[in-house]
Amino acid sequence: MSSAVANERPVTPEVVREHGLNDEEYDLILDIMGREPNLLELGIFSVMWSEHCSYKSSKKWLKYLPTTGPQVIKGPGENAGVIDIGEGLAAIFKMESHNHPSYIEPYQGAATGVGGILRDVFTMGARPVANLNALRFGSPDHPKTRHLVAGVVAGIGGYGNCVGVPTVGGEVNFDPSYNGNILVNAMTVGIAPADRIFYSAAAGVGKPVVYVGSKTGRDGIHGATMASAEFDEDSEEKRPTVQVGDPFTEKLLIEACLELMATDAIVAIQDMGAAGLTSSSFEMASKGGSGVELELDKVPCREDGMTPYEMMLSESQERMLIVLQPGKEDLARGIFQKWDLDFAIIGHLTDTGRMVLKMNGEVVGDLPIDPLAEASPEYDRPWTATEPQDEIDPASFTPSVKPAEALKRLMATPDLCSKRWIWEQYDHMVMADTVARPGGDAAVVRIHGSNRGLAMASDCTPRYCKADPERGGAQVVAESWRNLTAVGAKPLAVTDNMNFGNPERPEIMGQFVGCVAGMKAACEALDYPVVSGNVSLYNETNGQAILPTPVIGGVGLIDDLDHIAGAALPGSGQDLVLIGETAGHLGASIYLRDIEGRSDGAPPPVDLELERRHGDFVRAKIRDGSITACHDLSDGGLAVGLAEMALAGDCGADITGAEQEPGNPPLAAWLFGEDQARYLVTTAQADALLAAAVEAGVPARVIGQTGGDRLILAEGEAISLAELRAGHEGWLPGYMDR
């Protein structure tokens, strides 16, 4: 090999270990290469085989998830999933984690997380139309939490607001298990013409490989391997390089790429995400069954003297790799110059099946593509199932406080309080198509220029997943489906973000396996396939794992924006109708945890057949106009759901007396139980609605009426909206300004 690498570090066992490769993996490398790799080649193996890029621990299980359906245009395996939304359009979406970088540098970590997921979506030809974010922080009492919340939220806003894509939804939980490992999962939804989707598979000998966007610096070298290594106390000391995002350049890159995509110049396109130039060029060639030769001295660099190793492993942001049709170079160059972006032809496709890297004409790296991709390790890690928890008999305990007091407290807890302080820092209206803003069950974004819309939401209930991974996994999917249904949308497909601890521990691997099983069952039963996703493992600090957190981002379609529902009570004089059965499941509930200080018990069972029947009924009744407001019941049960509706509509309600119906569980369980497959709706035509419910085999009953400025809960006990609002709206700003 050439002199360009002569003065790089020799590959010693220590260097191999620093690259996160174990002995077996290194033996495999020797086998594939037929010789010892140099440092550059070793670096490439290390990122390609990192957990982050190779999914080596999760691959085996992810295969079980259903990924097909008539609506699916492209399932997992590309940059993002693609579904058909009719009228010649496709929705393209994905969720991705930026957990570790956000813990180290919350603003830039979260910002670059948004930038990365945006690129995954527009690289496929879609104009991004919405962002969502699922956040998990440590205990509010932990000294770092406030700073992390402030930084992450500012970073998500700082990037999304500048790029001009509305951030329309998300979720936020607090739990001590995230003290040393926060979760920042970002999701982007885009829309593209269904017949103009761009893929990464690149074929055609001699076709030019083009680099566009920002210049390459020494950013985040080894970021991908960092994202796969467990945290320990020194990781803060090591201060690994964190990338700085440039949303302005991203905005230009979006416009330039979409402009180029409107021509027929592109053969393949791929964003440079984790592992930058390495994984992008590798994937393009590997998927296209071709080879690639790159001249690294042509790579636009921000700094002098960058080595091939640094260029190949840099994670500088806002860059894309494109394979062009020969002869289209000038057209493409013109577009990128118009947008003041770098453009450089850095190589071409070959038919050798190898990746050949040159620097100033000399070969500095030469690896076989298919063997490396195929041999990428896959582990069947040992796992142990989580011990089931006991069901909690709702009659088995005496509540410590009266319902009104419990409700007041719950509405002001970190998990259930209003997240307005967060979403008001996000521009959620830019693009002027946000029909339902943050605050409801799902955001609704109009498909530009039409009267149709997409509904989207992100969901996960980690405490259920911890108590019973399989039930929890199913519940996550069911809740997502319910949230879309509650606005009147037809749920179409999901993206997932599997956040777990160290998979080398059997109990953690067991959580993963259980959650996947539950998700599989629910996705199948609800015709709600997984079209894209992301896995983030090793979320632990000093052996303390996070709660299993498989986040689901769901997307649904609304055919007619004149027939949607919101959660706000629509005014006085309407009937409140509870859809679904209330057995009063309190196991693993918010009520038990936050009011009674217990986190034991089995989570509520998920009956997927009922979910479907109840949801289909509710959706049909939203569409025919008989439901005037709708909210699915989840965390905190009926009482919390009702309170949220009342606050959103600034209208009270009276449900006293409903608790006495024969067969009801004890009071606390009736009000706060978290039974699934339930919705609370309002209607001006209760008789017709109940009759239709009977016909559809859906349990439904009138539990009260809207009106006034108080909630009258049970046994006549009342609480004013003003008091509820003060706590609900006050907790987060109060916490952050302290």
């Binding site: 180290i104 540098e105 603003y107 830039q108 920002s214 610096g217 020494r218 950013d219 201060r239 390089t241 964190v242 990338q243 700085v244 995002g245 440039d246 302005f248 350049t249 921000r302 700094e303 500088s316 942001q317 003041d340």
Partner: protein, 80 residues
């Protein structure tokens, strides 16, 4: 005592602001301007009058709040 703290991006860290300023200056016709970097300067008065103690205090402020040492350097000037 008066303190002046400069907080600048570490070498090699992307500075989008600096890049944009460089671009704007050149399109305004200012040629020959290179390597533009933008940082912050924070000035304040300090009741501590012992120079060594003051420096230690300001250093602690930098580490805890004023700079993000993952990507930024800081530099402290003190004046009586």
């Amino acid at each position: 005592m008066k303190a002046r703290v400069h907080v600048t991006l570490k070498n090699g860290v992307l500075d989008p602001q600096g890049k944009a300023i460089e671009h704007a200056l050149s399109s305004l016709g200012f040629d020959g301007v290179n390597d533009v970097r933008q940082g912050k300067v924070i000035e304040f008065s300090l009741s501590e009058s012992d120079p060594a103690k003051a420096r230690a205090e300001v250093e602690a402020m930098c580490e805890k709040l004023l700079a993000n040492t993952v990507i930024e350097n800081y530099d402290i000037e003190l004046n009586a």
